[in-house]
Amino acid sequence: MSERDVVITGIGLVSSLGEGADSHWQVLSTPGQAPRIDAERFAPYTIHPLPPIDWGQQIPKRGDQRQMETWQRLGTYTAGLALDDAGMKGDDALVTTMDMIVAAGGGERDEAVDQSILDAGLKRNDREVLLNEKLTTELRPTLFLAQLSNLLAGNISIVHKVTGSSRTFMGEEGAGVAAVETAAARIRAGQSTHALVGGAFQTEHPDMLLTYELGGFLHRKRWKPVWSRASNDGGGVISGSGAAFLVLESRAHAEARGAKIYAVIQDVASGRARRAEGNLDEAISGLVRRFDLPAEKMLAVSGASGAHVATGAERRALQSAGNFALRGFSSLTGHLREAQFPFAVALAALAVKNGASYPAFDAENEAELDGAPKAALATAIGHHRFEGAALVVAA
């Protein structure tokens, strides 16, 4: 135990399952949960849609809400949940000195404008002139900012006054891994005392599905748990809308203000396997072996995406590297891309804090695990690139 241990003192979660750390714990710790999915709207693709959200609860000004597309609004809202949960919301002394790292995508474009350009383009040879003509007249001027990657952090600064620093990492699941890893490393080294870290993903936009499907990654048939998707049913990924934000603090900082502590992030490991060379299994087991793991069977909250190569490699690697009871939460939330790793760390912390493992999300493929976990592994193996894992232990 050290004053510079990285402790989690606030968790904000939103997914198709609902909102809030405690409500996610309640839902996920009840056996036999059915996924909440929409298989119609983007057929043949299934998605896990956002739950109903009263945005005003975390973003009081309607003017602020209007300045954001759904993805930014979702992230800003969830960041507010995390700050509330940590008892920091509205505490100027704390938020104005708070560091922030957001894992962001972006590019929530205006579907109607794009569609009108594509349709007009079918009849035009001068498509570049057409672009100028349409974009200069039809784009909403502030849309650029409402979809811009670093403006999720920007809106968190405006709405929640988090202004100690503001950094945005990009790069799918790896951005979420690097965000947590960097924030934790800074706290451990005394470069930071408290930080807000997380990400959001809003999948309900054709372009968001397209960024997976250009690589052939989406599952196209009836919903199945993440471990059970066959390659003749598509690429294996079912995506979801959701977000996860964590408040991280040094133990000294958290204790000095009497904060409740969920768990400690003991260690984070990340990597960039050269997957084309076929070494992903080894790379993943190598990440996990860096941790000081307990001997007994352990909870592994897996961010497996369902993508065939990465998901198969993760399953094999965790079988070889230790004694894990896997819980692939994407079965129930869908793949949350940049938010995947913060979400995994949050679920690991909730299990450690509540002294119970989750029941199997997929009884055919996930082993039983009884008893109170003292530690849990969290993983996010990118559907296409980059890998990360964290060891979360009891406070």
Binding site: L118, T136, G154, S157, V162, E172, L210, R272
Partner: protein, 424 residues
Amino acid sequence: MTKTTDHLGRPIVAITGIGVVTSLGQGVEDNWAALTAGRSGIHPITRFPTDHLNTTICGTVDFLPSSNKGASALTYELAELSALEAISGSGLSTNDFGGPLFLASPPVELDWRDRFSLYDSANHDLPPYERLLAVAREQLRSETFESTQFGAIADRLSDRFGARGLPITLSTACASGATAIQLGVEAIRRGEADRALAIGADGSATAEALIRFSLLSALSTQNEFPEKASKPFSKDRDGFVLAEGSAALVLESLESALARGAKVLGIMAGCGEKADDFHRTRSKPDASPAIATVNAALADAGISADDIDYINAHGTSTPENDKMEHLSLSTVFGERMKKLPISSNKSMIGHTLSAAGAVEAVFSVLTMQNGVIPPTINYDNPDPAIELDVVPNVKREAEVRTVLSNSFGFGGQNACLVMAREPG
């Protein structure tokens, strides 16, 4: 023996390699010659038609093989070229660099050419949302897929140069280049690495990017004389000029640099940041976040405002930025600000967005090394409300031991670097 730790006992971070590409040319030598000659790289747009556009000038990099191949391809090539120059100069291995990579680059999007091309194969009996998706699943296009992945450029760069671990791609808008450097500095100070590669690269000057900034009234529309359009701190400044470029810095613990006998080009002495919560594009009227950023960088470097010899301005040539930058600096530096030399590289190269902080850090190093301050060109009509020594129009020889370099961006982003010629 040289001291290798700083005022807080942390490893001193040396700069042992630099590389740069801008509209002025490729490489440190060509850029520095042009920059000190007061030459502008701003020109009429030829990459795409300018019909219907209010702004028809830019500082794009048009001389590379990827210049017409879309933002992802060009951003990669820009990054690769500057990194190759920086690593080669440092004497480290160009295929086994062995340190982490921090890449500041623009957010990626499916290029319009690809979007049109997918749509040309689309089945129009399908509902609109599914048309591109159906083409995507039927004819996998790995190059198009990669161009939409935010982590792809850094992944390729890691392969190319043998960088270590998970590379970080970041955006803090127009402060990104400075943030990449800050992340490298922090990693070395934590003892995680002896060396780090920080790159800022931006090849995203597409028609849509130009239109987006134009719709926010951020761009100069003084199209008639392109080389005169970027006029930081002038009374008739009317916006920035969209530009491209890249720069790379090899950051290395001074201890490691000395141990291998590397040439130390400068010291990255301090970094500061502070976010603004006022507005998405405007700064707090009292400039307090920018002031806090400058003060944080000075404190991190362990020096006072009096120790700064020169300021490399953010100096975008927008009415708002230059006013706010002046207010923040005159608050920190007081009366001395009227005499302290400050110049804006953007007067010649335009605003290279994600790359700007890194490009300007490289030029700051060159300023110290050569004892020459590049000018602010187009300073023919000073803004009387901004009383500064902008090193107008002509370079100046000067002893420069320390530089403060500012970067400010949309979304309340503020980052500031302090560089020194010598350690301690």
